[in-house]
């Protein structure tokens, strides 16, 4: 008889096992969602260490409060809600975050982390950096809810339905946030692309 491995279980089964005290089941959930969780946190913080701390904190809180999760909603929307709230608290505490273009940071480090470096002419390099700065500035200037909805849709490809659950908003409201964010970004970026 073939026995299933925890890695093959669905989210619901893993949550049920974890609620019964099997920590290993929750660790499988962590492995399943850690990359996405880190990326969402990174979209908000633009800092590797902060993104690591926030995403780990979200997993920890989900683990501590797992017994209160009732399985009616999907685990990942419940977990993402915890994560996004942590990220929004982080943004509120930090105020305006200085948005350094990722390219600069990776160049300052060993050049292997972050976005892969591309060989380009000095002029192209300057324009790319300028455009990166423009993007970061334009994103930073979006109101928090618009930026949240935009990041979850554009960067993480969550459905409008899931974004509404994560942000605890109506789907219509999420659509309005995304629409306004996109129009604002197009207005600020179109002349540079």
């Amino acid at each position: 008889m073939k026995t299933s491995q925890p890695a093959e279980f669905g989210d619901e089964e893993l949550v049920t096992l974890a609620q019964k005290g099997q920590r290993e089941a929750f660790e499988v959930l962590v492995e399943r969602y850690q990359t996405k969780a880190y990326r969402i946190a990174f979209d908000f913080t633009r800092d590797r260490e902060e993104a690591k701390d926030l995403s780990q904190e979200a997993f920890l809180r989900a683990f501590i409060h797992l017994k209160s999760f009732d399985l009616r909603a999907g685990f990942y929307t419940w977990f993402y809600r915890i994560l996004v709230n942590l990220c929004l608290d982080y943004r509120r505490r930090r105020g305006r975050v200085s948005w350094e273009p990722l390219d600069e940071k990776s160049e300052k480090a060993d050049g292997k982390d972050g976005v892969a470096s591309v060989v380009r002419s000095p002029d192209q390099g300057a324009m790319t950096e300028e455009f990166s700065r423009r993007i970061e500035k334009a994103l930073a200037e979006l109101p928090l809810k618009q930026r949240t909805a935009f990041i979850l849709k554009n960067h993480q490809d969550l459905s409008i339905h899931d974004i509404a659950k994560v942000m605890q908003s109506a789907e219509g409201t999420v659509k309005v946030h995304i629409h306004r964010a996109v129009v604002a970004l197009r207005q600020k970026l179109a002349e540079f692309a």
Binding site: E27, Q56, V115, K153, Q187, E191
Partner: protein, 173 residues
């Protein structure tokens, strides 16, 4: 990278939100058909959609940490979960101590002790307060306020005591 010289114009207002949703493939049913039909004949909306397709992917900048980062990440999370689980066990053990019978039993015992102390404690306390020599004064003092009564009762043995008691009583009269 080229700077576009033309003035940026938006899409037709009544279609703009639908076009954004269309770009994200979140537009379905009649709204989708309506948007597609409109796109066939509107240059402004075609330009709007083209801009979205060109610009929005550029806003995504992912960090791709190396493998060693993820190894350390997993290890750290496991450690934090183990610590949280230990703490949770400690609290559960404490809560178990306070559950079912010990709490009501202790509470009942405390109430009984308090009741006994209040009931029997009064009697034990009051008489001890006065020194023996003043006990007589305290007993006679009310009677000293009515000397006529004592004269009538012929209590000559306590005369000195009565005079002393009357002196104390005059202070209050």
């Amino acid at each position: 990278m080229v700077r576009h010289e033309h003035t940026l114009q938006g899409a037709c207002k009544e279609f703009e939100q639908d076009l954004v949703l269309y770009y994200y493939e979140e537009c379905a049913g009649p709204e989708r058909s309506r948007a597609e039909k409109h796109l066939q004949s509107c240059a402004l909306c075609q330009q709007f959609l083209a801009d979205l397709r060109r610009l929005l992917p550029l806003t995504i900048k992912q960090d791709e940490p190396p493998q060693v980062f993820w190894q350390s990440y997993s290890k750290e999370v496991r450690r934090k979960l183990a610590t949280a689980e230990q703490k949770g066990r400690w609290w559960s053990d404490l809560a178990a101590l306070l559950r079912p019978w010990p709490v009501p039993a202790l509470a009942t015992a405390l109430v009984l002790i308090l009741a006994l102390t209040l009931t029997f404690g009064k009697r034990v306390w009051r008489p001890q307060d006065l020194p023996p020599e003043e006990e007589g004064v305290m007993e006679i003092l009310p009677m000293a306020e009515n000397l006529e009564f004592f004269k009538a009762m012929d209590m000559l043995d306590s005369l000195e005591l009565l005079e002393a008691g009357a002196g104390l009583g005059n202070g209050s009269a």
